[in-house]
């Protein structure tokens, strides 16, 4: 590509514009969280840091909620959900990709149909089930509806199908049974697909608000999003933007940090799996 190529310059300009649009909320959050409190001052909206940075907003945010506990609960929910999901989606994905059984297509499409449902309509039926299982106000109750993921099964099925059958046939010749086949041959080869699914799963459960709000009642079981909302949302007053930005920063920081550290793996696995 020549440097003077006008179409390349145009592409660069277009990409920069997209980057700017996408990163503005994050930039604003970072700037505003260090900005001294000035209620409703117009410079609150400014992206440019033109002030002495202060940690007062963070102090107030940390004081407004029990962050260590909120982090712990959120990590438990994300890790617990993902742990069970990885087992269920790999096994189901394997079944749909390799096994032959009557009604396979029908069952698979029934699975995919689940992707079309809008989650809020399931709130009441799910809550009834959770409560009958004795999981109301319990972190396992927050995780339970996600243990079987239609998206994950679909993704793993597609991933397994890209792996040549030759590997499996070689393993069978060596005397492997079905679970050795899955554990030693398919899973190592399907790792990028699993990482891609893991990212999607963790990000969505980290940020989820409505379902945990429905299941959780005691403050000890609250997740980050609920804790954040409890001190940043208010219908009838102006907001303390600095504290909101600082709180949001605290909630988003672990994911941002994880992305910065593992960026290469993330991008690779998405390229591999074709997830966008």
């Amino acid at each position: 590509m020549r440097r003077t190529d006008p179409s390349a310059l145009l592409a660069l300009a277009a990409l920069s514009a997209v980057v700017l649009v996408c990163s503005t909320p994050l930039l604003w959050m970072a700037v505003a969280s260090f900005r001294p409190q000035n209620f409703g001052g117009l410079d609150m909206a400014a992206l440019w840091p033109d002030f002495m940075p202060t940690l007062a907003n963070f102090a107030e945010a940390l004081d407004s909620a029990n962050f260590p506990l909120l982090y712990l609960n959120t990590v438990i929910v994300c890790a617990g959900t993902l742990g069970v999901q990885l087992v269920t989606v790999t096994l189901a994905g394997y079944a749909f990709a390799r096994l032959r059984f009557p009604g396979k297509e029908l069952v698979f499409y029934a699975f995919l149909l689940q992707l079309m449902l809008v989650p809020p309509i399931l709130i009441v039926p799910n809550l009834v089930t959770i409560s009958r299982l004795g999981l109301y106000d319990n972190l396992i109750g927050v995780m339970a509806p996600y243990f079987a993921s239609a998206f994950g099964v679909f993704l793993m099925r597609q991933t397994f199908r890209t792996i040549p059958k030759d590997f499996e046939e070689a393993a069978i010749v060596d005397g492997a049974n079905w679970w050795q086949l899955v554990w030693r041959v398919l899973i190592p080869l399907a790792r990028p697909g699993m990482i891609a699914f893991g990212i999607v799963s963790v990000v969505s459960h980290w940020n989820e608000f409505l379902w945990p709000l429905m299941v959780i009642s005691s403050p000890d079981n609250q997740t980050l999003t609920i804790g954040l909302a409890s001190f940043t949302r208010g219908a009838e007053s102006a907001s303390q933007w600095g504290v909101i930005a600082a709180g949001t920063f605290l909630v988003a920081a672990p994911l941002l940090l994880a992305f910065a550290l593992f960026q290469r793996q993330f991008v690779n696995s998405f390229l591999f799996s074709g997830v966008k």
């Binding site: 890790a79 009834v128 319990n138 009642s217 403050p219 409890s230 949302r233 009838e236 102006a238």
Partner: protein, 439 residues
């Protein structure tokens, strides 16, 4: 896998800890939304801790449940799942729906068990609050914190343009005149708006209620939850006023301004007058740098506004012990002392009249005369609209008013569309009630 195992273990631990605490005390849960600034969630926890310390036989937990609307969703879902909370602080105009759905219990038996008549019990609350709490011949809710819309104005701006801050506009004519004087223009662009009103959902419906009531209207039928009065002269006058302020007089921003943007604009001196809730009073008092004043919502035909705020309700299906514990909590939270404290902390007025007879409240009012304006306006206050499917009926109007604010529709056609939409939403209920005739 070890991660999963430890996660499961930790989850099991939190569960056993959560359920192991109750032995002797009656455990109850109260759902509460945070309608104003965030610190309230903390203050609510302090309050409930104090209650538990004073009542060793009860262990109440305050459960934060999001906004008013989310609290409504969570309460309904919890009731359907067979896990009703013992008490909920519910937006006062959602109570009717719970009564229609037969999901809450009348409080009269509990009042009578205390040796009081329902009339005597209700008389401790301001009369304007009765309509949303006591209807269909029973007490369904106990007012917890309430508000009315107020006109906040920047006194410095008033002086600057020769208006008297001691005599804020009282009629629509004076209001429009003041807004015109206060607006600062630079050619075609406006540097300072004379007036701003919140245009976001929930807030907008409440502000429109205040304007139409000030214009002699009712907004809804207080005796029957299947009727609203959108396509009426009083509402047309109110909406035309809004439209004129934006397009004819050009003293108000076009489009939808969020409630937060309105208060931010007021703090920043971008808006000289704003209509906001009394619930914002403490927040504005603490953060407004310039001199400000508060006044009644200006009138065209009469002084009238609707109340806002929230009440405590008790879902059906509680055991007698939990009912009793919940009733103890409800009474404690709405007694003069706590009611007054919460009012001073938030800016909401205290529903219990007795709160204003206490010495600490008298000192507070003497020091903050703006809090008195909210109380004075109460004598003109009326019930808040409450219908079958309140939120959808309210939104039918709000969508159309937003279209007018954005210049996409004229007031008359907007109100016709709003009325049609609202009637459609309420039809199932109307067919079951007013249109169900003897065969």
């Amino acid at each position: 896998m070890s991660r999963l195992a430890s996660a499961a273990l930790a989850a099991a631990l939190t569960f056993s800890l959560g359920s192991g605490a109750a032995l002797a005390a009656t455990e109850i849960e109260m759902f509460f939304p945070v309608p104003v600034e965030g610190k309230l969630a903390k203050e609510m926890k302090n309050l409930v801790d104090r209650f538990n310390a004073e009542h060793p036989d009860i262990k109440a937990t305050a459960v934060y449940t999001g906004s008013y609307d989310e609290t409504n969703i969570k309460t309904r879902a919890a009731i359907k799942a067979g896990r009703p909370p013992a008490a909920v602080i519910m937006s006062a105009n959602f109570v009717l729906e719970y009564q229609i759905n037969d999901e809450i219990q009348p409080l009269d038996p509990l009042v009578e068990a205390d040796g009081q008549t329902p009339d005597a019990y209700m008389s401790q609350f301001w009369p304007a609050l009765h309509g949303n709490a006591r209807f269909a011949e029973k007490i369904w809710a106990v007012p917890f914190h309430n508000s009315t819309p107020l006109l906040y104005y920047n006194a410095d701006h008033f002086r600057e343009v020769g208006l008297d801050p001691a005599n804020p506009p009282a009629t629509w004519a004076e209001w429009v005149d003041a807004a015109k004087k206060l607006t600062v223009r630079d050619g075609d662009s406006i540097k300072r708006y004379g007036l701003m009103i919140p245009g976001n959902y929930d807030y907008l419906g409440w502000i429109m209620t205040a304007l139409t009531m000030s214009n002699g209207g009712l907004y809804y039928n207080p005796a029957f939850g299947g009727e609203v009065y959108y396509d009426t002269p009083s509402m047309l006058g109110a909406l035309t006023l809004v439209d004129d302020l934006v397009r004819k007089h050009k003293v108000m921003p076009s489009g939808v301004t969020d409630g937060k943007a309105v208060s931010t604009g007021f703090f920043a001196g971008q808006a000289s007058m704003v209509l906001l809730s009394t619930g914002s009073l403490s927040f504005i008092r603490e953060n407004m740098k310039s001199d400000y004043g508060v006044a009644f919502v200006p009138r065209n035909l009469r002084n009238a506004v609707a109340i806002g705020g929230a009440s405590l309700i008790m879902p059906k299906g509680l055991s007698p012990e939990r009912q009793k514990a919940s009733w103890t909590l409800i009474k404690w939270l709405t007694a003069p002392g706590v009611s007054g404290e919460w009012s001073r902390f938030t800016g909401y007025f205290a529903p219990n009249k007795g709160a204003y007879d206490l010495p600490e409240m008298k000192t507070f009012i003497a020091k903050n005369p703006d809090a008195k304006v909210a109380i004075d306006q109460l004598q003109y206050a009326q019930s808040w609209f409450a219908t079958y499917n309140t939120v959808a009926v309210r939104k039918a109007l709000e969508d159309e008013v937003q279209a007018v604010l954005s210049g996409k529709k004229l007031p008359a056609e907007a109100l016709k569309a709003a009325q049609t939409k609202a009637d459609e939403v309420m039809r199932p209920y109307v067919e079951q009630t007013a249109l169900r005739l003897p065969q």
